[in-house]
């Protein structure tokens, strides 16, 4: 037997109470872990954004298109090295549940702007030269089992063709990967011309432009110049860095950080109060035993330590269970959410923060009972004068 035996036995002296407390803490950390993993994926775009890459969107909203002619005008801005454009297609494969993120792009300029996208040279050439080519990301190809040469019909809820149909036929002629494993490859691209020529409406418009600058230090000037080009026009623009654009895109899901803060904060405060009150009550119930231990010669600091460790242990057990469950839940849902949240996994940073929070929670809830246990005199504890 050692001090840890005593701590463990005290922790589980009322099994139902301990289980319920651990369960409450576990739920809080399950929420924290799951939301942390989602938040990490949502914000990963900004961390992978290049410093010298800018995005120009319609000033009203990035979902509102702008004239195709803008592309050529931006090319002429001093300091712009490459500029491309994209239009949101969306689409699904066979049934609406099989959502496929798809964009209509200008192939050559797009791959010039996104030089980190890699593929064999012959596939790159095929993408440039095949009008109905679908350039598929490696993760997306894996998800649906597509390979080069496959013919894929994608259906759109938005974009109708002039013949009245909404089915767009493509040939998978290239599969791209990314230099950095953290970059998403769960989407597909095809020729803007193929799309624009067949469109029943909204022709000669583009969704947004992406451009690279000669030097990130010139970004501010270039952004101002681009937006001034289209000032007072029916489609004014707003240019920002790619990182800022990605964050704005993530913000369409709501202010994730704020939601995370509120949900986890509320859960933690509630649990803090529950666990704190319960720990105070649990130690009060044991005041006499603490008095006996002091009588036997256990020094006050050792008793302080034991009570604090008991509280931290309780929090750690619940916290680790919660983080473990969150990791399993995230791993289990990663495949199903690959189309929306590629690379969904439990980041080590979230686990580390969770672990630190568990220790912190245990410390905060245990410190007052530990101080009480340390301070109580033997005579008081034993209920004697």
């Amino acid at each position: 037997m050692n001090d840890f035996t005593l701590i463990r036995k005290n922790l589980f002296r009322k099994k139902m109470r301990a289980i319920l407390l651990i369960f409450s803490i576990m739920i809080a950390f399950l929420i924290f872990g799951a939301l942390g993993a989602f938040y990490s994926v949502w914000t990963s775009g900004s961390s992978s954004a290049a410093d010298n890459r800018l995005v120009t969107v319609n000033r009203i909203n990035f979902t509102v298109s702008m004239p195709f002619a803008y592309w050529g005008r931006v090319e002429g801005v001093e300091g712009v090295t490459n500029v491309s454009h994209a239009s949101w297609f969306g689409g699904y494969y066979q049934e609406p549940a099989n959502f496929v993120q798809t964009f209509a792009v200008d192939p050559e300029s797009w791959l010039a702007v996104y030089s980190e996208l890699t593929m064999p040279d012959e596939q790159r050439a095929a993408f440039f030269n095949t009008r109905d080519c679908l350039l598929v990301g490696a993760d997306l190809a894996t998800q649906y089992g597509w390979s080069v040469g496959d013919r894929i019909p994608l259906l759109s809820n938005i974009w109708q063709k002039q013949d009245g149909t909404s089915s767009w036929d493509f040939e998978v002629c290239a599969v791209f990967d990314a230099e950095d494993d953290t970059l998403p490859t769960n989407y597909a691209m095809f020729h803007y011309e193929y799309y624009n020529e067949a469109l029943a409406f909204n022709r000669d418009n583009i969704g947004w432009m992406v451009l690279t600058t000669i030097d990130a230090a010139q970004n501010d000037r270039i952004m101002r110049e681009i937006d001034s080009l289209f000032a007072n026009s029916p489609a004014e623009t707003e240019t920002s860095t790619e990182a800022a654009f990605n964050e704005a895109f993530a913000a369409q899901f709501g202010n994730i950080a704020l939601i995370l803060l509120f949900v986890v904060g509320a859960a933690f405060m509630t649990i803090l109060m529950i666990v704190g009150t319960t720990m105070v009550m649990a130690i009060n119930e044991r005041t006499k035993e603490i008095g006996v231990m002091k009588t036997l010669g256990f020094p006050a600091p050792r008793i302080f330590r034991m009570v604090l460790i008991e509280s931290i242990l309780l929090s750690l057990v619940g916290g680790l269970l919660g983080l473990g469950l969150a990791t399993l839940a995230v791993a289990g849902s990663a495949a199903a959410m690959a189309a929306f949240l590629p690379g969904l996994s439990m980041p080590p940073l979230v686990l580390s923060i969770g672990l630190a929070l568990a220790i912190g929670l245990g410390f905060i809830t245990g410190i007052i009972p530990a101080i009480n246990a340390q301070r109580v005199t033997i005579v008081t504890a034993l209920g004697k004068l």
Partner: protein
């Protein structure tokens, strides 16, 4: 026999609100090594307070408590805890065993404060339980034992670290006569065979008869037997 304790001009009081209450004043006495003393007296006479002062779990208002040259009333809390662990075994009226631990673990508790190895601790625990006749109940929890058996576990816990003195606060107060006699016989055995100094607070005159001498505390002073008879 040499003196184990020397109490000099010992006073103890406390305040309740604005009222100052004196428990005893200017108490002077000595307790010899190997003695078995029963301290008797009415409720509120200060018996338990005296026991607390002897055990170093309370401090006097004035005066001194000397135990073999150590002024325990002057020791810091930390040193006092160490001194208690090494020198004193406590036996309480309501046993005060840890409900989450079995008999052997309860007895082992004071040994966690020593540098003994796990094996040596187990041997000591087995010996202590054997002395109180509970070797076969080592794995039983306090809930599975009678009051008498729990008190014997408490005695084993009090003697396992081999202290010089056992301080017993109404050790038979919660027991039936038969169990009480068994406990008192055990204490007598510890006094006679192992030389433990025993100071026992009791209300029970038949329990006091097991002691070598009786001290009657009343209104803060020791009362002689003759005075008591009047």
């Amino acid at each position: 026999m040499t003196d184990l304790y020397q109490l000099t001009d010992l006073s103890k009081g406390y305040t309740r609100g604005r009222e100052a209450i004196t428990i005893f004043e200017q108490l002077t006495m000595s307790i010899q090594e190997g003695d078995f003393i029963a301290i008797m007296g009415p409720s509120g006479s200060g018996k338990t307070t005296l026991l607390n002062l002897l055990g170093g779990i309370d401090r006097p208002s004035s005066g001194s408590v000397d135990c073999q040259g150590v002024r325990i009333d002057k020791l810091s809390q930390g040193k006092l805890a160490k001194w208690r662990a090494a020198n004193v075994g406590f036996i309480f009226q309501f046993y005060n065993l840890m409900p989450t631990l079995n008999a052997a673990q309860n007895v082992e508790l004071p040994l966690l404060l020593t540098n003994l190895s796990g094996k040596a601790r187990k041997e000591r625990v087995a010996t202590a339980l054997d002395i109180v006749g509970l070797a076969d109940r080592a794995r039983h929890s306090p809930r599975q034992m009678s009051g008498g058996q729990q008190q014997r576990v408490a005695i084993a816990r009090a003697i396992v670290a081999d202290p010089k003195v056992l301080l017993c606060d109404e050790p038979t107060g919660d027991l039936d006569r038969k169990s009480a006699d068994e406990i008192l016989e055990t204490l007598q055995l510890l006094n006679k065979d192992l030389g433990k100094t025993i100071i026992m607070v009791t209300h029970d005159p038949s329990a006091a008869k097991y002691a070598r001498r009786e001290l009657h505390l009343d209104k803060g002073r020791f009362v002689e037997a003759a005075e008591l008879a009047q």
